[in-house]
């Protein structure tokens, strides 16, 4: 094997016989399309088989999924409403992943962000726009601080952030639970007439709610536009700016980055704070957007949006613009399930169908990831 032999006589930019085929950093599109086609078709086939075997009608299951997410009147508006927070969580995840930091605690950061936003919304009076800004800031800061705990522990004592972010999810729900113990924090006071006190906040006042618009009978909050703009900005920052370049450098080789002037503590912590901030913002737009909980915050408010947003980032393979589309697909799966009950197919079976579809979305990026790693590792192996 003579891969190592360097041909110094070969002129510049010539491809030496030992050089591999012109390598692209991106797998070709056709490859990706084929992978997705295979895995989604596989998932559909297995699902159809499963539904049929258990005595259901597979056509009705699939058409319910499609109706619920897109086809029935007004449903794609609902889907957009769900896609928005998913996208925001995914964007944050992309930031920390690019910096080489792991954050899998978005669920907790989203909850804390939403809680902080609700707290400000309930207790701060004043002109709508000012309160609105304060609520959004509170949401972002809440999520950022929650992720910041993990970043701080990593930098202070080397505690792996993969553990801390995850464990802080449970802590977050305990903290929120505590907040609902008292009316001076989150709990809504008992109103005359209703005997029982429910664990939820007061409604956010009219003046701070995110405006909703209606297009072709589909209604959704305008926050989706902001989220898409954020996605475009993030894509630009990561690929075209010095800041993004240094962030990626840190994620790809921390020691080379340090030698080149990237302070891993500072940049990495910033990435974690931004990531948590996005999750907190997601919680805030859920609270103020109107699709979730009727402008009220409650202990179970996050309804797995943190986890799902994490999956969106994975499937989008850490690309901000791809995350826009992927978040819509995942939101479709969520909203589509709303119509499944009407098919008469058992809930347990339809849950499996949904899980299979999620899995089908995750397999191609996993395959691509593993293959890129192997290829790079093989190239490295051949050279040492």
């Amino acid at each position: 094997m003579s891969v190592d032999a360097d041909t110094s006589v070969a002129g510049p930019t010539t491809v030496t016989p030992t050089s591999p085929q012109v390598p692209s950093r991106f797998s070709s599109w056709s490859e990706i399309v084929v992978l997705y086609a295979i895995s989604i078709f596989g998932a559909l086939a297995i699902s159809a088989l499963l539904v049929t075997v258990t005595g259901g009608e597979w056509r009705s299951v699939f058409s319910a999924l499609l109706d619920g997410s897109l086809l029935a009147p007004g449903r794609w508006g609902t889907t957009i409403g769900s896609a928005t927070p998913l996208l925001l969580v995914a964007l944050g995840t992309i930031v920390n992943a690019k910096a080489g930091y792991v954050n899998i605690g978005q669920e907790g950061q989203l909850l804390i962000g939403g809680g902080a936003a609700a707290f400000v919304g309930v207790h701060l009076g004043g002109p709508g726009p000012i309160v609105f800004v304060a609520i959004v800031l509170a949401g972002i800061v809440g999520g950022a601080l929650w992720a910041g705990i993990a970043a701080g522990l990593r930098n202070w004592r080397g505690v792996p952030e993969v553990l801390t972010t995850l464990l802080l999810v449970s802590v977050a729900s305990q903290v929120i639970g505590l907040g609902f113990r008292s009316e001076s924090f989150l709990l809504a006071p008992i109103t005359e007439g209703s005997g029982t006190q429910v664990s939820q906040t007061l409604q956010m006042p009219d003046g701070v709610r995110i405006p909703r618009i209606t297009i072709f009978g589909n209604e959704f909050p305008v926050s989706v536009f902001a989220a898409v703009v954020f996605a475009a900005l993030l894509a630009l920052v990561l690929t075209r700016t010095v800041v993004g370049f240094r962030l990626r450098m840190l994620g790809a080789n921390a020691r080379t980055a340090m030698r080149s002037g990237v302070d891993s503590v500072r940049v990495g912590s910033a990435a974690m704070l931004i990531s948590g901030g996005f999750a907190g913002l997601a919680g805030t737009v859920m609270l103020l957007g109107g699709d979730f909980g009727g402008y009220r915050f409650s202990p179970g408010f996050s309804i797995n949006f943190g986890w799902t947003g994490l999956l969106v980032a994975l499937v989008a393979r850490e690309r901000a613009l791809a995350a826009v589309a992927v978040s819509f697909v995942f939101a479709s799966l969520m909203t589509g399930s709303g119509f499944l009950a009407a098919t008469g197919v058992e809930r347990r079976i339809t849950d499996v169908v949904q899980a299979l579809l999620v899995l089908a979305l995750l397999i191609p990026p996993a395959v691509l990831f593993v293959r890129t790693r192997r290829r790079a590792a093989a190239a490295r192996e051949a050279r040492t």
């Binding site: 360097d6 110094s8 510049p12 030992t18 010095v242 450098m249 080789n253 030698r259 790079a376």
Partner: protein, 528 residues
């Protein structure tokens, strides 16, 4: 495997009390021949020293013996039987045991627990404990089976390793660089033990080392390896340190012929040593009284001071692991000094602060480019601007056109063979990756260049290119610190050579007064 023709070399001829006989054992890694037709015989009741520099092939040879590496050619005879040692289990069955250079002990466990680890049979604590105590007493190791390994000194830990090895009662014992972590006193005790193991029980022992004095003191016969080949084989009695040093680092060469042979100097032979005398420019890089402890608490830099003048190439010789890596890490802003100071062009530079050294004008070609020289998952163009991305950016926005133009220019100038500036770094061969590093570091117009093992793994043409680039940088007035385990390279390029040993300077010499014997002795850790 086609049996090779047996040569009538003395070592390959069977002798009465032989335990191990290697015949023309060969191992290649790609283009590199780690072991080139090596013959070696170990006799029962004798300690055989295997001496050589790092990379001479000693470790590969021993790994072949214990089944970690499969040879490409040659034959292995154990107690007169030809064997194929495919894996460590086979080696263990044949009675071959090894005491490794790096401890493989579990700190929180006790001594006997560590000894029992990896045993396949049922665990019998009482039995293991008794056996450990027996061995400890028999060889005077003074090890308490119930002591916690984490509390032991390096010397005692090594004895635990020895017990682990002896517990299986091997007839052939290999010690791989056993004293690298020991104090002189601990080494002396170790060799006393070793004598006992050999003399009383007729075991065959191989002692692998690069330290001249310990090989001289502890062995009966010596095999000296260099570049994968056996260069000398001698009884220990009747040899001298200087003979060994000469054999280990190469023949006792005249400087000029070495340089001409290396192809770096025109063969006209008109270059005289006066002409390459050290320049007397201003001192650009100073490292003063630097002290640094490694993560394991070992002292890595022990009051080391270095001064390099503008235009000077200071060669740093020494066996690897004597502080070179740490010195480079400090100058790469990857490690912070515990005490001491680094100045560049007269101004102090904070150590351990990200990018501080690079900003002060210290360019680095690291020994392991994958560790701190390149980002494999980024493109060539990106790798060429890692240190100063702002040179292809305006107001924080990177300009892809300028980045590509910058890359194209450097690819041209440094003759980097690649499909184009956008190809990922990992697709390049090692030599071309090294050119990317060189191109980036030199294009930042540094005042100091630190080159650590810059030509390791490169072929002749690339080595020559690297050498001429380093020399050209020095001629432009860059202060160059050249760290290398290749003596030829140091002799060819440096104006002055220092030898590092245990994080200190063991000796210093101008190029025109280099004495190979003395250099070898200094590197081998012998006082000279």
């Amino acid at each position: 495997m086609e049996p090779l023709v047996t040569t009538t070399s003395s070592a390959a001829t069977p002798v009465a009390d032989e335990a191990v006989r290697l015949e023309r054992v060969t191992k290649r890694y790609g283009a590199v021949v780690a072991c080139d037709a090596v013959d070696l015989t170990l006799r029962r009741g004798a300690i055989h020293g295997v001496l050589g520099e790092n990379g001479a092939g000693k470790s590969t040879l021993m790994k072949i013996l214990i089944g970690l590496v499969t040879p490409d050619g040659g034959r292995v005879h154990i107690h007169g039987q030809q064997c194929d040692i495919d894996d460590p289990a086979t080696a263990a069955k044949l009675g071959i045991g090894m005491v490794h250079q790096h401890f493989s002990l579990v700190d929180p466990l006790t001594v006997w627990e560590n000894v029992a680890l990896g045993e396949e049979a049922r665990l019998r604590p009482a039995q293991v404990r008794t056996r450990v105590a027996e061995i400890s007493e028999k060889y005077g190791l003074g090890i308490d089976p119930d002591a916690t390994v984490g509390d032991l000194t390096p010397g005692l830990r090594q004895r635990v390793e020895i017990i682990k090895c002896l517990r299986r009662d091997p007839s052939i014992v290999i010690f791989d660089e056993p004293t690298s972590v020991l104090t002189p006193e601990e080494s002396a005790q170790l060799f006393t033990t070793l004598r006992r193991v050999v003399a009383d029980e007729g075991r065959a022992v191989a002692l692998v080392s690069h330290k001249l004095d310990e090989v001289l003191h502890a062995t009966d016969e010596i095999t000296i390896m260099r570049s994968g080949r056996v260069v000398d084989r001698t009884p220990t009695a009747g040899t001298t340190p200087s003979d060994l040093a000469k054999a280990m680092v190469g023949r006792s060469v005249s400087l000029r012929s070495e340089r001409a042979a290396f192809g770096a100097v025109a063969a006209t032979d008109t270059v005289t040593l006066e002409e390459v005398a050290a320049p007397d420019g201003p001192v650009v890089l100073t490292v003063t009284e630097s002290r640094l402890r490694g993560r394991d608490g070992d002292i890595k830099l022990d009051g080391l001071s270095v001064r390099v003048r503008a235009g000077e190439i200071l060669g740093v010789a020494g066996v690897e692991g004597n502080g070179q890596d740490e010195l480079v890490e400090v100058l790469s802003s990857l490690a912070r000094l515990d005490s001491g100071e680094v100045t560049v062009s007269g101004s102090p530079v904070v150590t351990g602060r990200a990018g501080a050294m690079a900003a002060a004008g210290v360019a680095v070609i690291p020994a392991d480019r994958h560790d701190s020289g390149v980002v494999l998952d980024m493109s060539i163009a990106e790798n060429l601007v890692l240190v100063e991305p702002s040179q292809v950016a305006a107001r924080g926005l990177m300009d892809p056109g300028r980045m590509r133009a910058h890359a194209t220019r450097l690819i041209d100038e440094y003759e980097i063979a690649c499909p184009g500036p956008d190809a990922p770094m990992w697709s390049l061969s090692g030599g071309n990756q090294q050119r990317v590093v060189l191109a980036r570091e030199l294009s930042c117009e540094p005042v100091v260049l630190v080159a650590a093992q810059p030509t390791r793994g490169l072929d002749v043409g690339a080595i020559e290119f690297m050498g001429s680039q380093i020399r050209a940088a020095a001629e432009r007035g860059v202060a160059v610190l050249l760290i290398s385990s290749e003596l030829e390279e140091l002799l060819e390029l440096s104006h002055r050579i220092i030898v590092l040993s245990d994080g200190q300077i063991a000796g210093e010499m101008q190029r025109d007064e280099v004495d190979m014997d003395r250099l070898g002795l200094l590197m081998g850790g012998s006082a000279a």
